[in-house]
Amino acid sequence: MRLLSGDPPRGWPARALVVLVALALAATPLLFHGAKPLEVAEKICVMAALAASYDVLLGYTGIVSFAHVMFFGVGAYGVGLASYALGPGWGAMALGLAGGLALSAALALAIGLFSLRVQAIFFAMVTLAVAYAFNVLASQLPDLTGGEDGRSFRVPELLRPGHHFGHWLGTAVTGRTLTYYLVLAGAAALFLVLLRIVNSPFGRVLQAIRENPLRAEALGYRIVFHRTLAVIVTALVAAFVGGLDAMWLRYVGPDTALSFSIQIDVLVIVVIGGRGTLYGAVVGAAVFVIAENYLRALIGAAATATADLPLLPNLLHPDRWLLWLGVLFILAVRFAPRGIVGELQRRHDEGRRS
């Protein structure tokens, strides 16, 4: 309870869902064999922590940022480029992460103070511009960043696939297993930090700012600083997650670390999971990443099954999975605007009141 800052998911359905995802992530290396399930589980960890930090901005503070994934990328590039330049090692990764965190904080401070004084829409535009500039910069500086191709780099010996620790419960424990648990532990710790922040006096002011910024000012809160601090803290978390993901991928490039499509994914995850719930990010990430990886196959199977019918096989082509995800998204927004966790918690709250 202390670990959860006194704010567990409300009601058993939401609680069960979160626990289920957490247990599944913890047990993935033991339950499944082969590379794919672990890849999927790692992506869920990363997207859950990244989306949770975005939820602090979007759901708790009411700020729309398009630069959140940029901070993720800064952390990833920090770890990747340092390991590439200095050679594999814990020191290089730590140094790269520290550099990424520092740059993220500085950028967040600058963007926040520059644009959060004005209307929220101005902040959104500025983040879009800065993120775009960063994307271009990463591609246009091939000597430094590897350009479009990015950089593959090596990780410390202990984390390599070839490093065998032995067997446990019939599963080979390798450097990849260790890397996965590092990512999982890091993501979980960051999530708990975010949970503490939204339940702190500072986090409560963020919600007040979302509800009624002018009233928050009339109480004496200088909301520019609160908003800026929220952007900085969430940028630091995003950068940290980026570093973890780079360590897992052993690669950093624009597509995996800076792409706007990741920004859209994060937004979708927060909305389907439930804005302003934090736990929604975990559930949303699990649903989204699993759909992304297995919806293709499912749709492909449906296409084969309907091969004799007109039009349908075309719509059900595996490459159309994004279309179907879009349809699911629209249905979710229409019928469960609070998202999965938000909706479950609302039902619980109403049940208790009546």
Binding site: R196, G203, E211, L219, G220, R222
Partner: protein, 250 residues
């Protein structure tokens, strides 16, 4: 004696319309000043200029002799300018308790603390419950703001100002739209605050019996201009006020 609050030639224009027109006035501790005038006279705008929601086109606002014209609303609030709004101005999705607790938290100067959960600040929580009890809302602590009656929302509005323990309290039509049996709760509260000689109270109110019983002084605004200023009996009796305001209202 330095006034607690003073305006000098305070003016604001919206386009061509001068909503507050060169108002100079000083307010003193231990004094309750009623501000009267017809709708659209500029009373709320005058308050907004003093508490910082609006910036003056010209003129100055002083608190305890210090020029605060350049300060924003949060800094003015921290200097002890409290404001209860005419149009209910709350945090709608948060609970009644949380609305007041946020005010108590601001009063305690806890702005950026993020390492401890909010429950750990029991002092703030206790202050919030105590403030709710003062306005008779202790039974509604867990309710959503949207579930409150209009009158209870007005009380919460007042509670949030009181939680800040300001030296200068500005009430903007605190009893407007309240049912007859709810009005005394708020008036008793104002009367109680008035007994504290360190408080400077400004009250915009239309009900003349309320003004007569509470006010030490009345000022009259009309078309943004200060038309009259004096003891209640004198101002209410003046022909100018009868014509400009009371005549229309009665």
């Amino acid at each position: 004696m330095t006034p607690a609050l003073e305006t000098r030639e305070l003016t604001i224009r919206f386009g061509g319309h001068v909503a507050v027109d060169a108002v100079s006035c000083a307010f003193f501790p231990g004094q309750l000043t009623a501000i009267v005038g017809p709708n659209g006279a500029g009373k709320t705008t005058y308050f907004n200029l003093m508490s910082g929601q609006l910036r003056a086109s010209s003129g100055a606002v002083l608190v305890r002799g210090r020029d605060i014209t350049g300060l924003d609303a949060p800094r003015r609030a921290r200097l002890g300018l409290g404001r209860a709004f005419q149009l209910t101005n709350l945090f709608p999705a948060l609970s009644v308790l949380e609305n007041v607790r946020l005010a108590c938290q601001a009063r305690a100067g806890v702005h950026y603390e993020m390492t401890r959960p909010w429950m750990a600040r029991r002092d703030i929580l206790a202050a919030a419950h105590a403030t709710l009890a003062r306005v008779g809302l202790e039974g509604r602590a867990g309710s959503a703001v949207s579930a409150l009656s209009h009158g209870d929302q007005r009380k919460l509005e007042v509670a949030m100002m009181m939680a800040l323990e300001p030296d200068i309290l500005m009430f903007d039509e605190p009893t407007a739209g309240m049912s007859v049996d709810e009005v005394p709760v708020v008036l008793d509260l104002i009367a109680q605050l008035k007994r504290d000689a360190s408080k400077t109270i400004l009250l915009v109110e239309h009900k003349m019996d309320v003004v007569r019983s509470l006010a030490d002084r009345i000022i009259v605004l009309h078309n943004g201009k200060l038309m009259a200023d004096g003891p209640p009996a004198e101002v209410i009796a003046s022909p100018l006020v009868r014509e400009a305001y009371l005549g229309a209202a009665a």
